[in-house]
């Protein structure tokens, strides 16, 4: 694809991204929803974040990886601990990254 065609594809991508972001708030924010629906929506944050995170930590190259070499998984434990104890997300992220970087440097994992 030449750069001009890529630009047009980008505009299509932008619409495909914006639609799902916009339509629910536009349609739903001005009306009151049944209690069952709002109860259901309260579980969306925990559910969707776990659905995004677990594969990043557990799956490597198409397989479940629970061994000592899966540094992404093991670094998540102290990072989670820091998040719970300090409520600091920045601290948690930096601790996670520092552990992964150190493990790669020290053990070449």
């Amino acid at each position: 694809m030449d750069q001009g065609a890529i630009t047009w594809t980008l505009i299509g991508m932008a619409l495909a991204t914006y639609g799902p972001r916009l339509l629910p708030v536009w349609l739903l924010s001005s009306r009151s929803m049944p209690p069952a629906v709002t109860a259901w929506l309260r579980y969306v944050p925990s559910a969707v974040l776990a659905a995004l995170l677990f594969p990043l930590l557990l799956v490597n190259g198409g397989h479940i990886s629970l061994g000592p070499k899966n540094i992404f998984l093991w670094a998540a434990l102290p990072a989670a601990w820091v998040a719970v104890k300090t409520r600091s997300m920045v601290g948690s992220v930096l601790v996670g990254m520092a552990i992964v970087a150190a493990a790669r440097y020290l053990f070449a994992v």
């Binding site: 694809m1 750069q3 630009t7 594809t9 980008l10 299509g12 991508m13 932008a14 495909a16 991204t17 914006y18 639609g19 799902p20 972001r21 916009l22 629910p24 708030v25 536009w26 739903l28 924010s29 929803m33 109860a39 259901w40 309260r42 579980y43 969306v44 944050p45 925990s46 559910a47 969707v48 974040l49 776990a50 659905a51 995004l52 995170l53 677990f54 594969p55 990043l56 930590l57 557990l58 479940i64 670094a75 998540a76 990072a79 989670a80 820091v82 998040a83 409520r87 997300m89 920045v90 948690s92 992220v93 930096l94 601790v95 996670g96 990254m97 520092a98 992964v100 970087a101 440097y105």
Partner: protein
């Protein structure tokens, strides 16, 4: 007619409180900045290597602004995939934002449609998670929300630009663990999101389902399918607990 309007009838509380909200938004956006700059940088490097022009690389972070689908799109451009397949893949990967947009809707009452349009444009996994942490204190504050959104996208665009201009010199993001910035951010966001045992159960089951669906080959639909089932289980368990122990 207006000469008798008392000038001091309404103390000017809007100014300072708006400033405080903006500052609160900035500080709530910092973890996102820590995650977005390195990942944006990785995107900038990859886009250059895949042959995207600097203009298209920046346009993608400005107009599309959706991490996962930007990486997928670059890999599709690199193999000269047809435009429609890039756009359809983007749509499928980003359908999960409908659930996030819906989940925030009850807290965006009385917002003007134009404000909602601006808000939705910069709604990402991470900004959504930061908003949903503050929901126990009521409605989403406009100034704070927009400060979070603008700061987050600015850091994504900045990272993209850094990756583009330093692209040739950075051969590997692994020694600095830049590839762990987003997983680590998701860990913190998830941990701080969970407030009770039902939520913890929902997170655990949904995460396991997402892994199962990914391994079964549903790499595009897995997240949204697992979320739909997981949230439904959450409501079911919540009802069941209420039936078991009728409270006062």
């Amino acid at each position: 007619m207006t000469s008798d309007t008392p000038r001091n009838a309404q103390p000017d509380e809007q100014g300072p409180s708006t400033a405080r909200e903006l500052f609160a938004g900035l500080s709530r956006a910092t973890p996102i900045v820590v995650g977005y700059v390195p990942v944006g940088l990785a995107f900038g490097v990859l886009a250059q290597k895949a042959g995207l022009s600097p203009l298209n690389t920046m346009l993608m972070s400005l107009l599309v602004y959706a991490g996962a689908s930007q990486f997928i799109a670059v890999s599709l451009f690199a193999v000269d995939a047809p435009a429609w397949s890039v756009i359809v893949t983007t749509l499928v990967v980003n359908l999960r934002h409908m659930l996030m947009s819906a989940a925030l809707s009850p807290f965006l009452k009385r917002w003007h449609p134009a404000e909602l349009a601006a808000f939705a444009f910069q709604l990402t996994d991470e900004t959504f998670a930061v908003h949903s942490q503050g929901l126990s204190s009521g409605a989403i504050r406009k100034a704070s929300a927009f400060a979070i959104h603008v700061t987050a996208q600015a850091s994504w665009v900045l990272g993209t630009w850094l990756g583009m201009v330093t692209g040739q010199r950075i051969t590997d993001v692994k020694p600095l663990a830049l590839d762990y910035a987003l997983p680590s951010l998701f860990v913190a966001l998830l941990v701080l999101q969970i407030r009770d045992r039902v939520q913890a159960l929902v997170a655990l089951l949904t995460g396991i389902m997402a892994v199962g669906l990914l391994l079964a080959g549903m790499e595009r639909w897995g997240v949204i399918a697992a979320t739909l089932v997981g949230a439904t289980i959450g409501v079911g368990v919540e009802r069941w607990i209420k039936v078991q122990s009728p409270g006062p």
